[in-house]
């Protein structure tokens, strides 16, 4: 019998694969976004409603002082004792002490879990980064409704 023996070895043509991968790499490198930009959302009052009509929710007012000092005032909350409703935090090396702030706000939040609104009142000389740091810290403690007081 005569066997029709086919040659089983074959050669993979890798050139098109390299072409395809090169094009993919070029496209992805050109369209790559190296910085992940996000946003911190702030809800501002735009008027139109009188103060008496506005729903009374617990609020935390934060006044930014010089050298990173912070004054915290809890308003419209009956659950917070007077001792905690007004706090003063000293700054560290000209910046706000975020660790102390986190501790204080967590304590307030455990007493009144309904507290979600924070209104930050910066100084005219406050840096944008300081305000963002405060907002980020408040978000970490579960205070999600942030606002900035216009001066």
């Amino acid at each position: 019998m005569r066997h029709n023996k086919k040659h089983l070895d074959f050669e993979l043509n890798l050139i098109p694969c390299i072409d395809l991968l090169s094009v993919c790499i070029c496209f992805l490198l050109l369209t790559a976004v190296w910085l992940q930009v996000g946003s911190l959302n702030v809800k501002q009052a735009i008027g139109g409603q009188s103060a008496s009509e506005t729903e009374k929710v617990p609020q935390l007012w934060v006044t930014m002082g010089a050298a990173g000092d912070l004054i915290l005032n809890v308003k419209q909350s009956a659950k917070i004792p007077r001792k905690l409703s007004s706090l003063s935090l000293k700054g560290v090396q000209g910046r706000s002490d975020l660790a102390e702030l986190n501790k204080a706000v967590s304590q307030i939040k455990t007493l009144d879990p309904e507290l979600k609104t924070v209104l930050i009142q910066p100084r005219l000389q406050s840096e944008y980064e300081e305000i963002i740091d405060l907002m980020d810290e408040f978000k970490k403690t579960g205070l999600t409704d942030l606002g900035v007081v216009p001066l």
Binding site: D9, F10, E11, L12, L14, I15, C17, I18, L21, S22, C24, I25, L28, L29, T31, A32, V33, L35, Q36, V37, G38, S39, L40, N41, V42, K43, Q44, A45, I46, G47, P122, R123, L124, Q125, S126, E127, Y128, E129, I131, I132, D133, M135, D136, K139, K140, V148, P150, L151
Partner: protein, 167 residues
């Protein structure tokens, strides 16, 4: 002799796919000269594949929404939300830009009101979302931001989004 004794040819002979990943410039043994180099492509394809996978994983379908100048350093935040396409107010080198067009602080409210007007003309019956993205350097003073916040409130933009770099 040079080709057969090289390290490349030795590894190729030991590999699973043997000589199938070679580029043969003139195809076949009959035309192979003594000095013809054999290129091992498997390692190259491996490296390319890893690169493609890495780039695909870091690929962002939303693309770049903000164009950040070289002098601008955005502040960093860990609990930031995904940035969406909204009108952008940019402060760069103490200049104010609305959608990449330089404007004065005094003309900010009319410019924002124009945006609202354009929206209502192009999409009648739809409520204007009133969202504004603020892009500023981390060292900018609140003195400047305050004017933007006041103007935004005055023009009915109640939702301000501060652009940050995610930590």
């Amino acid at each position: 002799m040079l080709a057969t004794q090289s390290i490349l040819s030795a590894t190729a002979l030991q590999s699973v796919i043997a000589g199938q990943s070679h580029v043969h410039p003139k195809h076949g043994a009959r035309s192979r000269s003594v000095f013809s180099g054999e290129l091992l492509l498997t390692a190259l394809i491996d490296a390319f594949s890893i690169l493609v996978i890495f780039l695909l994983m870091s690929f962002s379908s939303t693309g770049e929404i903000l164009y950040i100048g070289k002098d601008t350093q955005l502040p960093k935040a860990s609990l930031a939300e995904v940035l969406e396409r909204n009108p952008v107010i940019k402060i760069e080198n103490e200049k104010l830009f609305l959608e990449d067009k330089e404007i004065n602080f005094s003309s900010l409210i009319p410019a924002l009101l124009d945006l609202r007007k354009q929206f209502s003309e192009t999409r009648p019956g739809e409520e204007y979302p009133g969202i504004l993205t603020v892009q500023a350097d981390r060292r900018v003073k609140y003195e400047i931001l305050n004017q933007i916040i006041l103007a935004a409130s005055g023009a009915g933009f109640g939702d301000i989004r501060f652009a940050v770099i995610m930590k």
